[in-house]
């Protein structure tokens, strides 16, 4: 088979470059065969033996479509250029090849699973890409910035090197902020036996602390019995899941669930983040053999849906003007929350303009799957390859794009910036705070 023609601007990523210089072919061969033999089974074998090389999956992928149908971005090509070669050569490949594998798997695929939905056989390319990432991670071939977040997880059990005292300080500060709106609002720490444990991702206390204030107000108005942990285990994000370091992924997920168990809560409600939900609901529990989370996990979209449907939160005045929303793959296509998102958007916005395609067919923002966490070296190609979604946003004519996912939030901000869309990017909770009714007895 002729090699794929790959034209890319050169990218300097110190971790990949140094790893390439260091790796030996014996190490590579050993790791590839170990992963294929011990960690994969019927799925990979059947997918490889069933794929009829028809190329139908390419229509699904925003990388392919945004780059003028450059075949090197087509889903099936990504497998051809990685696993086909590894399997054919029984693991005998060189370090430059593994570096290219990491580039493909970590920086040019979001594991958004759209292509799985477009292959007539339902071949799950994203799963195979994760196998490639696994091999790369075992060989330390992981982009620098992504690996840094994994180190942070390993050392601090959160993604952003947040120290224990910073965490508690931030929560107390945000409790005070919230009390500016609703004086009786509380952010209860370590309340054993509460109904809900609320967990967030590392970047919230680090850069987006006001979201913690918002949820404190929302919880008070809705009258929820909730708590947050004062210990590690508060961070539900998981970049190790995306680098391929599943041992650390499992440690993170285990601590998150065990913290909820320690607090004896009935459910975990998580902030607006797609991949965190995926890790806590699916990848973590299946890797550890639990299959299902021990305590149910509720994503923010479903939580707000419940609050609005049950009337625990009432809308005082809908937000004006055309507003659209990104559909985060990990909670829509891969968790079925599409119609709930549409419901809450319509409840809170006067004029919700839907994307086309929408719901589970919507395109990824191109930040997900760890690609945005690969950092500045890879930003140019990532944003360039989100062109298609930028056009979809533009067509809505909205003044604001809602992103109920942290990765999407940053990714969509990059899109708005690069394609000069002039739109605001907001979390759903920011709209909710604007629109909801604060009962008189709670007002200052």
């Amino acid at each position: 088979m002729k090699p794929t023609v790959v034209i890319r601007e050169p990218v300097v990523d110190d971790a990949l470059d140094q790893c390439e210089a260091r790796l030996t072919e014996e190490q590579i061969e050993k790791v590839i065969n170990e992963v294929i033999d011990k960690e994969t089974g019927g799925r990979l074998w059947t997918y490889i033996n069933t794929c009829i090389h028809c190329g139908l999956c390419s229509e699904a992928c925003h990388w392919f479509l945004s780059n003028d149908r450059d075949v090197s971005f087509a889903p099936v090509t990504k497998i051809k250029d990685t696993l086909w070669v590894m399997l054919k050569n029984k693991g005998k490949v060189d370090a430059a090849f593994i570096k290219r594998c990491s580039q493909i798997a970590h920086t040019e695929c979001n594991c958004c699973r759209r292509c799985g939905m477009y292959c007539p056989f339902g071949i799950d390319i994203a799963y195979m890409i994760l196998v490639v990432r696994r091999i790369c991670a075992k060989l330390d071939m992981v982009p620098l910035y992504l690996q840094d977040t994994v180190h942070s997880h390993a050392a601090t059990m959160n993604q952003m090197w947040v120290k224990p005292d910073e965490w508690i300080d931030t929560l107390q500060w945000q409790e005070e902020e919230a009390q500016g709106y609703v004086p009786s609002a509380r952010l209860p720490l370590e309340k054993e036996g509460a109904e809900i444990m609320y967990s967030v991702i590392g970047p919230e206390p680090k850069f987006l602390a006001q979201l913690l204030g918002n949820i404190t107000v929302i919880m008070k108005v809705a009258g929820c019995d909730w708590t947050m942990p004062a210990t590690a285990g508060w961070d539900n994000s998981n970049m190790a899941m995306y680098s391929g370091d599943f041992e650390i992924m499992a440690r993170v997920e285990r601590l998150h669930h065990e913290t909820a168990q320690r607090l004896k809560v009935k459910k975990i409600v998580m902030g607006e983040c797609g991949h965190a939900f995926r890790g806590a609901e699916y990848d973590g529990p299946t890797w550890m053999g639990w299959m299902k989370p021990p305590i149910p996990i509720v994503h923010a979209i479903a939580f707000y849906y419940d609050l609005l449907v049950s009337g625990r939160i009432k809308i005082a005045k809908k937000v004006e003007g055309p507003i659209t929303s990104q559909y985060p793959c990990n909670v829509i296509r891969n968790a079925g929350l599409g119609s709930k998102l549409q419901y809450i958007m319509n409840e809170v916005c006067e004029d919700f303009v839907d994307l086309i395609p929408n719901d589970r067919h919507a395109f990824c923002c191109n930040a997900g799957g760890g690609t945005i966490n690969c950092g500045p070296p890879w930003k140019k190609i990532r944003v360039q390859s989100a062109r298609l979604q930028s056009e979809n946003f533009k067509r809505t004519g909205a003044h604001t794009i809602v992103t109920p996912c942290h990765n999407c939030h940053s990714g969509v901000e990059d899109i708005v910036d690069k394609y000069k869309l002039g739109m605001h990017v907001k979390f759903f909770s920011e709209l909710l705070i604007e629109a909801m009714e604060i009962p008189e007895d709670l007002q200052p």
Binding site: I52, F121, A335, G338
Partner: protein, 215 residues
């Protein structure tokens, strides 16, 4: 020659086809047991839903997005599978040997179905040579598989119309048919065996585990 090709070799071909298929399916199930997720994720309801959406033409979003391909793909596969089974000549042969027979299609219908298969193969060939994505993932084996698929139809057609020495053509036809049967379990033509499994697994994972849909 004809006796051998249409006697023992047919037996051998069918034994390899059926035995090989069973073996490959058994191997697939066995190695899927090694994985934690496969069997616990399966769900009958979502498997059926997935099959309904992917085995009925235009019953999912993507098939509607590419109508020409969908029509060709279904016409090709339906004719490919049903022509040999309901072909008068085949049923007569089986009747003569074992005294069992079943309903058959008229010869002019099967003749047209044969043409559809050949035309479908030409479509796939052209796609393979021109579509950049498909071209990029094509090697000799893809052409060989296409040839193995279409040869029984070309030779059967020629034999039926008695265009080149009927006897030679018949022998070639039977050889081609046998080759195809033998190739199914051991090449990517095994997609015929695995389709149901890959489809129902993905449907189950999407529906049962992820509360979503796969169409």
């Amino acid at each position: 020659m004809y006796e051998f090709v249409s006697g023992p070799l047919v037996w051998i071909a069918f034994i390899i086809f059926i035995g090989g298929s069973l073996y490959r399916i058994f191997y697939m199930l066995q190695s899927s047991k090694k994985e934690k997720v496969v069997f616990p994720h399966m769900s009958l309801e979502h498997s059926v839903a997935s099959l309904i959406h992917w085995l009925i033409p235009f019953n999912n979003q993507y098939m509607r997005q590419r109508p020409v391909f969908t029509i060709v793909s279904f016409a090709f596969h339906i004719c490919l599978v049903f022509t040999p089974i309901f072909l008068l000549a085949h049923v007569i042969l089986i009747d003569e040997s074992w005294n069992i027979s079943w309903w058959t299609l008229s010869e002019s219908v099967t003749d047209w179905m044969t043409i559809i298969v050949i035309a479908g193969a030409v479509f796939y060939l052209v796609r393979r040579l021109t579509d950049p994505v498909v071209k990029n993932v094509t090697d000799t084996s893809d052409f060989v598989l296409l040839a193995i698929t279409v040869l029984p139809f070309i030779t059967g057609f020629l034999a039926y119309h008695q265009w080149f020495g009927t006897n030679t053509m018949l022998i070639l036809h039977i050889l081609a048919g046998e080759l195809m049967l033998i190739a199914i379990p051991f090449t990517r033509l095994s997609h015929m065996l695995f389709f149901v499994f890959t489809r129902t697994y993905f449907g189950s994972e999407q529906g049962h585990v992820k509360n979503s849909k796969d169409w």
